[in-house]
Symmetry: C2
Amino acid sequence: MAKQNITIPAGTRDFSPAEMTRRSYIFDTIRAVFRKYGYAPIETPAMENIESLTGKYGEEGDQLLFKILNSRPHEAREERKAKMREAFETSLKQSFNSDVLTEKALRYDLTVPFARYVVQHQHEITFPFRRFQIQPVWRGDRPAKGRYREFYQCDADVIGSNSLLNEVELVQIIDDVFTALQISTLIKINNRKILSGIAEVIGEKEKIIDITVAIDKLDKIGVDGVNQELQEKQIAAEAIAKLQPLISFTGDFEAKMQLLENLLSSSEIGKKGIEEIRFVFDTVQQLGLQTAAIELDITLARGLNYYTGAIFEVKANEGTLTSSICGGGRYDDLTGIFGLPGLSGVGISFGADRIYDVLNELNAYPESVGTTTTLLFTNFGGEDTAYALRMLQQVRRAGISAEIYPDTVKMDKQFKYADKKGIAFMAIVGESERQNQTVSLKNLKTREQEQLTLEALIQKLSQ
Amino acid sequence: MAKQNITIPAGTRDFSPAEMTRRSYIFDTIRAVFRKYGYAPIETPAMENIESLTGKYGEEGDQLLFKILNSRPHEAREERKAKMREAFETSLKQSFNSDVLTEKALRYDLTVPFARYVVQHQHEITFPFRRFQIQPVWRGDRPAKGRYREFYQCDADVIGSNSLLNEVELVQIIDDVFTALQISTLIKINNRKILSGIAEVIGEKEKIIDITVAIDKLDKIGVDGVNQELQEKQIAAEAIAKLQPLISFTGDFEAKMQLLENLLSSSEIGKKGIEEIRFVFDTVQQLGLQTAAIELDITLARGLNYYTGAIFEVKANEGTLTSSICGGGRYDDLTGIFGLPGLSGVGISFGADRIYDVLNELNAYPESVGTTTTLLFTNFGGEDTAYALRMLQQVRRAGISAEIYPDTVKMDKQFKYADKKGIAFMAIVGESERQNQTVSLKNLKTREQEQLTLEALIQKLSQ
């Protein structure tokens, strides 16, 4: 066969062993914290029925779905083929959107499949349902630096409980995860009810989306930019004036709360939002966080149409990444889209790929991350190899990751292999070791070498 | 929104927490053994370029690929739209096979993506490359009991080494995995070179595929059925007669080897096969297996076109499943399909779904598998809850999986929740516990209850 130009689809990635061990470290850390908090794992299929996904992410989202072709079209009856032709012609005008051609699509996130799961399995689930899910998702976005077409999400949600203790717990989970990963973070928190209250008291209740979309951009476009956008959206000058103290909101938590309490005193929903924020803040502060800081940020909106209560966003204090590495919030009617209204939920999602970028930049991996094998036995052939194989078997049974160079080649080549693979120790087993029933253990970093019995070797490497 | 009939695509599955903990136990066991043997993890994207997959699995395999529609067809230029129409018309006659409509497909197995990976990354890889890969694969097969459209494969391969020590090691890995999973197994082993030798000495060298396909069915159709199929395939009566001692092959390993040595004494390739089988058997026997039995089975063929040396297949000795739970072999030119010839490899693949079926039938999970939370704190509200939250935080920091019932509801409801979720212990924290700075720990199995300090509680549950 002629040599091909071998590639993978744009926006997808292969993960090498070195990358995998680093990524596993991130996933294992997050998973261990989720488990410690009593969250139970679920998995859903990569493919969902297309009608479970379309209409859930807006028009732009529908365009980003990877749709799977129905197979064996040539086996269809003539009548169905006519329908397929018709659907195809429509697709050439307005994109594929017919289940005559495609009945399945790859999941776009873990939230909608989770809502579908809860509705489908509602009679088997014990509510309140604390679940976590760590799986890849797919989006046909234009690939760019840091934007992939296949990437992992790590979600934890509690569904079927209105208690604000869930919000407190999610903040603790965020603190636990980033403390374990040694990333210093700032947890920003807001509440949709406060945003609703603000829109209400400035007399622009109907324009809450325009208002929050604008102030959400404060970081990027500054106060003047926000005010200009508000004007463009036909927000009254009087209302914009009332917003000013909030946009240039500074001071500590109590100062901010004071301002909000004054401003929102006439708004029932606004007061409820303040009460909720206060409970979450106070409880978190009483229990204490390990390394994360927490801040009230009333410009935080994040998919406003979705959230109905708390809104979370986490940023790393270190490194150059400015986008968030975790986010979430409360949604009062997620399962309503699948016909089961009235179940309130709250959840967070860790962005494993962004956390990976931050850790790579900080080089903040523990030393053990990145190596796959602890010990390599030399292969000198004949009796030496037979002896090495017996030793190797005992070492592995003791739980130590070890291998033998499979071919009898020059020692130099075997050393190079160990070196490239990042193996820490070589076990040199030649005639003298075999006769003494020992192993010469060489530390490939320090170049120190010592003769050890098998027991001593196992003891040394088990530490 | 009107109530929908909520489903997932046929042949796919949701995994509940109870199923996930069982499946994780299987994956974690296999992964730990792979690591202990120095195999390094990789992952490849779910989607491959369609030309990387087509033509690799035969015509039937091509039909089973899940193909992904190119997106935004309506944005294409008229010229391209004309091509798409043409491709679509062809598809209605002979299935979708044009990259004008579909450039990507979901991977069908892990072997071809691995070959693609090795060729693409050949300059970064340290050979011999021991890699493992645990990921889902997708096949548009007709769904049936035990046959899924999305299922996991767990593969380990060594590429770039001809050493038979790799075969020995793979047998040890199989023994290690099933010993850990407590499944008694029979490892069947054969060698393609023996099959080639047999075809040669009976004078039907060209018909090796017909012969091996027929004798591979011995289990299912018996000796008479095999002979009939051989006749139908135009194998000479004389050749069939020569095959008889092999088909009704019994006795121990040495008896079988004796027979083969006599039969294949005139075939160079046959003698090489015998030499290879003997080395693997002898080395495995000298080192000793923990629980698996190993047997020479010359009717074993498994995808003959693919394998060039050793062929492995593993069956469970217990339970009703008759199909294999692990299989593999040596292939001398896997990467040749991507333009890199001459790299020999050998690998095995564990069928996680079948292993799951066997373990479920035997109910052979350790007791710890299946629970996600160890301890549930009661939520009585007010000061009691505040006290419980402080205790809970300490328990979690000690690494114990624990939660609090998030809402202040009747104790009965909280007990029921613990019960349904399979939580082993309840921590009852009311006024008296709070005043004594203790916790009442109730074992939900034995119904025993005791008052403990926080330190004693942590010590007890850490065991």
